[in-house]
Amino acid sequence: MPDQARSIAPQSVRRIGRSLLLTVPMALFTLLLFTPALREPERPAKLAALITWAFMMMLFFQMMRTRQTYRWRRIFFVALGFLFPVGFIWDLIALRGSMSIPVERMLSGDTPFCFMVIPMTLIPAALTRTIIFPGSILPTPSNPHSIAIMAALWILATVILGKAWCSYGCFFGGLDEGFSSIPKKARLRKINPKWRLAPWAILVAIVLLAAATYEPIYCKWLCPFKAVTEFSEVRSTQTAIQFGIFNALFLGLVVVLPYLTKRRTQCAFFCPFGAFQSIFNWTSVFDIRINKEKCATGCVLCQNHCPTMAIDPSSIAGGKMLSTCMRCGACVDVCRKNAAVWHIKGTTVGIATERARLLYLYAAWVFASMFGGAIIANSLQKLIGLIV
């Protein structure tokens, strides 16, 4: 017994030491990102930045220590999803006293730009060199969420991470992930796999309608997250219908269905931006593969645990995830045979998988800290300001 204890102790000490060593570069780099906020004269801003930085580093350290990704990423992502509306609504109330935006403010370019609009702007921009969104290209005092900043961040993240944007960058996805995490077991298990194609259909419909009407159709009619961010001021029957649609979609797709299915239903079966982002899984060097030599039992644990149904029997047989994989890591963490592995394109599947995971996580976590961390810090600052 004492011999056993002696052999376990150095092992765990070594693991903690290794994890700390791997966390140090990330901690130093992200500290640089948070330095401007830490130098703020206001105490709530300083405190919020410090808490966010510590929170992000604690999660990264746990990812290194436990060699698990999904569990710790989910904590960050859910925090981002639930805190984003807090800071956003706070800013809206401070700027204009309401969550609704009047048409006059829209026309003056005061609508905050959101990445969801990007696919809808492409055809009109190509045809007329016009961005069909009532926002501003560069940040202004009345609208700091400008088109140029969001587009630059999106391009940077997309080229490197592909659809992992939906696991580390999207400030909406954390809401349905949060609600899907509440129940222990899914109550609705049988979902027709054809629904996986619905986001593509919505993408096709909104892109074509945006080109026909020169309006961001998704934002105007279908975005469930308008319910917790910003919406057109209700002044007519049409805006009242739109307001009703936003709330119904939010309740259905972001609250009720994730709770019943334990899946990210909005992301998997509705979000057109997610479908668009799937295309960029080709540009990213990172992916997840299934080592067919190790996967012989047919347990389909990975398939059952995938939050977006990006794994099916054909993808297991082919050793690759479907194009809708968001690289959240749920399948890798749940696989008992270590058959689902992180992978860098061009290398042999199943070799140096932890190294592949580390490289991926360094890239993803830097982005998560820079983008999501800033959002979390902003919201925390408001909440801390209430107390301090």
């Binding site: 055809i123 045809l127 054809k194 194609l197 619905a198 593509w200 259909a201 919505i202 096709v204 419909a205 074509l208 309608l209 080109a211 026909a212 159709i217 009619w221 049409q238």
Partner: protein, 235 residues
Amino acid sequence: MGSLTEALVLGLGSGPVCLAACGPALLPWLGAEPRELRATSRLLGLFLGGRLAGYLGFAVVAWAAGMALPLDLRLRTLIFGLANLGLAGLLGVSACLPHRTCPMVASAREPRLYQIGAAKRYRPPAAVTLGFFTGLNLCPPFVAAGVRAAATHSLPGALIFFTAFFVGTAVWFIPALAVSPLRRFRSVPTIARMAMAVLAIYYAYLGVVGAASWQLVPRQSAQLVILISGMVTHA
């Protein structure tokens, strides 16, 4: 000859807008139809024929009404509302019952059978009907062409002007054939049908709003006249 060239150039110049206006109805529908390029080309031809019929039919009715129709906002709202409802119905049926709207596809896939009992009623090809409804949904370039055609002072002259304009715009529809190779992805027809269902809801909404509110719309709009004359000047 000069006016023909003008109509052709006007069509070529404003074709992308026409394609964008008809795209939501045409492209998903082509995506859900047969894979072969020849079959897709035939469907596109039928669609364009239907669209031309819609254009010319509207032009004849407008001419008969003394060209007041295109500028009568109330009637236009009603016609657009009904056309949108027709479009929504057709897209909805195509989305839910894929083989009902295209008998050609069904017959190509099924073995020949001897018919027992009453013969089937003739149904016009869905592509023509779809084209006809989109033709009734007058896009801004078409209205501009309509006003310009009115200056020819004769019905045949106006119809020839329209046809030349239509040929100019039709060139821009050729890239729609690129949908055909996409059919090698098995999921494309399903996606296309789902998209048609979404679009059917959108057009149904537009149709209901148009059909329900046409009496509330003022008969004439000075702004519209200015807009149209501005477009003609620009063209």
